[in-house]
Symmetry: C3
Subunit: 463 residues, 3 copies
């Protein structure tokens, strides 16, 4: 791929324009306001303004929105020379994905009289689907062109919607916070794409595949926003009332416990006992992923804390011991370690959800059973069947993600998207006008500055 | 202006103290709690706690608040050596402007028994007015003293309130998200101030009028918060229910489409196809500006996306081709390019609003017509008249902004505010104690460090 | 303490694991969902979903959450070489403290049938208590090991809960925003700990106890989030309706006025009139602290502005003149100047609250008196008595904080926690894997880089 032309002057505009124009046309034909956003329909019926779902869900939506654009975007800025691309490509593909997701999810979740209805719930769902794409982005970070990423987004959103439809609509699976639909799917899809795009010569850019002091600080902005707003993420589309409330609470405790075990494991697995920013930035979030399915259930704070505690341990161990093996043995170069943050904790969350579902009783949930397990409440399904369905859903998701990632990986491997050469991976200046690093000189410095200006060490040698 | 004394030891404290003491006295005389914030009045009538407007609007207010202080503040930190001033002066003038705006808007929007009533709606409106001042700040960024900016804020807030009164109260114009009142007004006011304060010798500090790598990363924080929360901005003061819901939704789609066209145009207008951070940081937001007037109307997601799509294109073209002309031909040195982000998209938003208003029918809006176009619903005005009024409002706003900016520009040009010399523009150390840049040395380094310490290049030459 | 082993390989994991396992066990035994988060209990009674307290308080909770993790965390990143620890240890001890606080506060605030009930209100209260610990952290920043901080957190949370119980439950004190319970307590507790941990040889690391340009920018993120969300902080647990609304409004005005006086005093107290980032980052927040007690009362916008105005002045004067005296005379090395941001403004807020309470009448508050001063409304207590109780509460808080800090300081002084030597204070690399600072070299550079790589100045000398 080294001799591919990385000039984006035509490739990127053509891709963006075609995709956006298709989107606009499809929105024109297919999309209309739902009854809560339409002036006529809303005023047609008699209700309080407060019944509008906007007031139940918009604050949660905004928290999710921050997670998608600031959280994911800045989490990936840890690379020393890839901050523009991390936050900038995250921005671009998220803006595309949320539009495409609105159509795909709308299509699968139910078309009303030939029309897809949109409102705050569709906005949240679209952001959720986008999150899945951004997880996959994390696996291939630094090694792909923006056009490649847009192509990935289009296909991944589509497959996400299919998988989500199978789980939520066909199987009646419960997965409010998306341990399966979002995290497991996004992670294993991305890992399979990374496998197909394996670069044997990636060590040519190895020295850029690491952080510097300030880039780690920027990444912590992403981490903390994800951490703080994860309770909103998991509860954003659960039922009104106790369900949203309980889900937020469970997630809050899971994350707190996860943070303690992450710090413990990070120090413990280092021979000099020093904390590793990679663990803190990522593994401390695993508690949110692992509470994605069971968060809305009667998991109890106690159960939530156990889940988070274990998720942090698993995640740090993954970063420390499993990631190197994935790269050397399975040829999966997982830049952000999404397998450790989203993959394993997602699977764990699915299992926790299956177990918790299988233990659901009318005794515990009372009349609230209908909100959490409508098919169990309707007597059509036993709790243990629901648990079984949850487990099957995990298998379906893994299958969809792996096969989908494999196929889409091959599509992305076509040498037409302007992917970077091995030596220019993890480098903003391939796709961005990059200013200099030092004050008082940027005016004269071009983007080739890093090559031209002698570094202190080199200055020494010159003398 | 080069020999003006930039020492702020007396100028700034005197200005701040006088202004704040005047504000406190006026608040003491004129301001009281509205019926939703007053313990006695609220409990006097019989209603649910939920009817308190706090619950409808406070989450939106906080999003707007973040846009004002983090969004605008960090968006302007792109300059390599002006971060303290960008975020710090933004903070100062916003804190002043929101207090002054409360009085001015309260005075014009209606005094109740000799008193101005305050609550969450006045807080949002004050933040909106503040936003307008911050837009103008963007045009003169790096070339003004904090005292000059405080003077600008006092006059601009006053004129903003007059213009807003003419539009919203006298003409019955609809402009919930402020395409006209906030963006068009703020941009053209600022551009005219920049024209009056034109500095022929500004190229003396040209090398500092650009970004460095980390400053561009900080600026992206501002961009993303503005982008994410713009749906809250446009919907913050629309009517309860479907109106807030629809406005947020329209803005969300407009911004998403705008992001795609911004990336496309940024790559397309660069000979090497590389993305320009200036475009991404700014033009991607034009979709929010352009949906400011029509966002609350039945614009449809389809219409919103077209608006955003075009706004992104116009904005990038403005940065690329129009800004250099404005500087060379019209002598307008627009530091942040507010003409491209707020000026043209604001005008576009006003036109879109006029067209959309002229197409409003009872058929489309149903009983919701009264919320969006009360004067049309009351049969006193036809939809096409409303459209005409909207167009006239744009002209009024442009006139007020240009004449106001001209006058205030001359007031700001008086050589008494401690403005920086041409050579010391875009430089924090004129007004701030600035620490060093390198670790382990800050203790010894004074603010003159940048001059004293040899740069690597110079070290080479020395040898 | 210089020869203490700072290796955290066993100390930190053992501490974290033991604490978290104890927490999990206690949560399992003692904690259950309250009636608003429990599926069965919520659905048992007949009410609208909107009555769930989640919708009244969750947006405020999230704002408070951001203040705790981003606000406090980034505010402390101003140190040039302590950003990982500032934001990272803030994260760790907050995650612990909020769990422990849930138990301690639940225990003191009332156990229901042997169980502690949790929901959004307990989440807010736990975050509040955590804030107090983070204030104390500010006093000892840079001079403590993470294990020491965890130990401090455990004891401080416990004492916080006792003090809070005495004030709110036994004395019937009003302190919604925590001028006393959170700020005064946290500050004087931390100052006393700092006194006990006094390091005569701290000037060995003096050159690292200062900021660099970018670290001050990161700190401004913390400042602004604290500033913007302080209205949510003070109003988070006030009564529904006008109370939450009024508290947010009062705090908003107090902060705005405080910002003006802070800038004025910062310039005025510098001989060259230059603004000092330390003042802007900290003193501009004093208005929020000082409105903590009286914010929910009928303080009026006028009164709020006076309070904020004075708080800013006092705080800047404290940084400029009092902090050096505290260090030289009282041997209190207060890294972040918490005495100026939380200590004095907290005391001021308590006094303002006592005065405002003593002026409360049925005439002013109407039926709202019951929400703000239930004991006065119930005729069991006169307004002046309430004012007296408020004043006594300040004395109690100061006593608890000073004695508590003294005792806990001695516990923290035990040479078993791996505290840094005097020369290695304010230095991340003691406890963290720290990457290099320059791009393109991080791969080869170890954490000792700062010593190895010649600085430009040294390069000059070499030649």
């Amino acid at each position: 791929m080294t001799d591919t032309n990385t000039n984006m002057r035509l490739k990127l505009p053509i891709t963006c324009f075609i995709l956006e124009i298709i989107l606009i046309i499809l929105f024109g034909v297919l999309v209309e306001y739902d009854k809560e956003t339409d002036a006529k329909k809303w005023h047609h019926s008699n209700h309080s303004e407060y019944d509008n779902d906007f007031y139940y869900r918009y604050p949660s939506f905004q928290d999710v929105h921050v997670m998608i654009f600031i959280g994911f975007g800045f989490l990936m800025t840890f690379l020393q020379r890839y901050g523009f691309s991390s936050v900038g490509f995250n921005f671009l593909i998220a803006a595309l994905a949320l539009q495409w997701a609105t159509l795909m999810q709308g299509f699968f979740h139910g078309v009303h009289g030939g029309k897809i209805h949109v409102g705050v719930e569709s906005m949240i769902n679209a952001d959720f689907c986008t999150g899945s794409v951004l997880i996959s982005f994390g696996a291939v970070l630094g090694k792909t062109s923006p056009v490649q990423l847009l192509v990935m987004a289009v296909f991944e959103v589509t497959l996400f919607a299919v998988n989500e439809f199978i789980l939520l609509s066909l199987l009646g699976t419960r997965d409010a916070g998306g341990s399966m639909t979002i995290h497991t799917f996004g992670a294993y899809f991305g890992l399979m794409v990374a496998r197909v795009l394996y670069r044997p010569g990636l060590d040519k850019s190895k020295h850029k595949n690491s952080s510097v002091y300030h880039s780690d600080m920027f990444a912590m902005i992403g981490t903390l926003y994800l951490w703080m707003f994860w309770p909103s993420f998991n509860s954003a589309i659960t039922a009104h009332g106790d369900d949203q409330h309980r889900t937020a609470l469970n997630t809050y405790y899971s994350l707190a416990a996860c943070t303690l075990s992450t710090y413990a494991m990070s120090a413990f697995t280092a021979h000099d006992g020093k904390l590793d920013m990679v663990h803190i930035q990522n593994a401390a979030l695993a508690g949110g992923v692992a509470a994605g399915t069971a968060g809305e259930m009667m998991l109890t704070p106690f159960g939530s804390m156990i889940v988070g505690f274990l998720a942090g341990i698993i995640s740090v161990l993954g970063y420390k011991y499993l990631s190197p093996i994935l790269e050397s043995k399975l040829k999966i170069q997982d830049t952000c370690g999404v397998h450790n943050l989203h993959g394993m904790p997602g699977v764990m969350g699915a299992i926790v959800g299956a177990v918790t579902a299988s233990l659901a009783t009318k005794e515990i949930y009372g009349d609230g059973l209908e909100d959490v397990f409508p098919m169990v409440a309707a007597k059509g399904r036993s709790a243990s069947s629901q648990g079984g369905i949850q487990a099957i859903s995990l298998a379906v998701t893994l299958g969809m993600a792996l096969v989908g990632g494999l196929l889409v990986g091959f599509i992305m491997k076509l040498p037409i998207y302007g992917a970077p050469s091995d030596a220019s991976c993890f480098e903003d200046s391939i796709y961005w006008e990059v200013p200099g690093d030092e004050e008082g000189h940027a005016g004269q410095l071009s983007t080739v500055k890093t090559e031209e200006v002698a570094k202190p060490e080199e200055t020494e040698k010159l003398n």
